[in-house]
Symmetry: C2
């Protein structure tokens, strides 16, 4: 039996770059003033990648029950055919747990705490945990792929390995 | 000089159907239980339509200054090459003003008040006002089209016509 503690780091673009995009208002975005000066357009913040095998982008809402810390990670998933973006719409922080694409390596897991104004776009094939909202039932706006083909793989963490996300 | 008062109606799918999609949690959605029962996936809620002229879907954030009522409508816009979806992420209600596609008719204008948990997807060519957030600086997650071609037309309301959105 072995135990791995993952401390949730602040979510930053630099830290998250190996896994995907952080969708947020930031100074280094391409910012375009529009609507007679009343709006800043922070332009094109996520690399949507959904067209493999004739796929298309769709918009859904994920209504999710919250988790609390310490949280035990028992399963991870990846989407070999497309990216998947999550944007919090109910104003709570949330957790993000990822591992690099390729063969799943528990030692390579990373945990992040996202602020309410941050979204994430997992790149194709990146291992990630399903929605980990905090404090309340939360809604995420999700942009992912619809189309033919098996686009979800899951991997169970062996019972002898206990992985916990901690503060 | 003539004056037109538009009363903001509650945003419902039925009332909004001529203009686009309402992106919301609702009983009549296709709802798929996922993530070991912790999540309801409200599936495929908006008809994204962005591929004309080689277009692709992009994700942006619009940070917008609020308006207050009565609000005077001076200009409307439409996107002849693609749909445009707006999802409120900062928890405030907002206003939506639309008119049917085709020749712009001031008498056909409709105003809606959207709840914080509702998004809208304007169908291609539907006349709409730019972002009308309320109460605070608000962020909208926007899914629209990038690609070649002139995808924004604006029309100014003649000065002799005063159009006000009212409660």
């Amino acid at each position: 039996m072995s135990t791995l503690e993952l401390r949730a780091e602040p979510l930053t673009r630099q830290a998250f770059a190996p896994f995907g995009d952080v969708i947020e208002v930031a100074e280094d975005n391409q910012v375009i003033p529009i609507n007679y000066g009343s709006t800043e357009r922070h332009h094109d913040l996520a690399a949507l990648d959904v067209e493999d095998g004739g796929g298309r982008a769709i918009v859904s809402i994920f209504r999710t029950r919250p988790v609390s810390l310490p949280f035990r990670v028992k399963v991870m998933e990846r989407h070999p055919l497309g990216s998947q973006a999550f944007i919090m719409t109910t104003g709570n922080p949330y957790l993000v747990v990822v591992a690099p694409p390729g063969e799943f390596e528990p030692a390579a897991l990373r945990a992040f705490q996202a602020a309410p104004g941050q979204g994430v776009n997992y790149h194709k094939g990146v291992w990630h945990h399903y929605c980990l909202g905090l404090y309340a039932v939360n809604d995420f706006l999700v942009i992912d792929r619809a189309g033919a083909g098996d686009n979800c793989e899951e991997i169970a963490i062996p019972g002898k390995l206990q992985i916990y996300i901690v503060r």
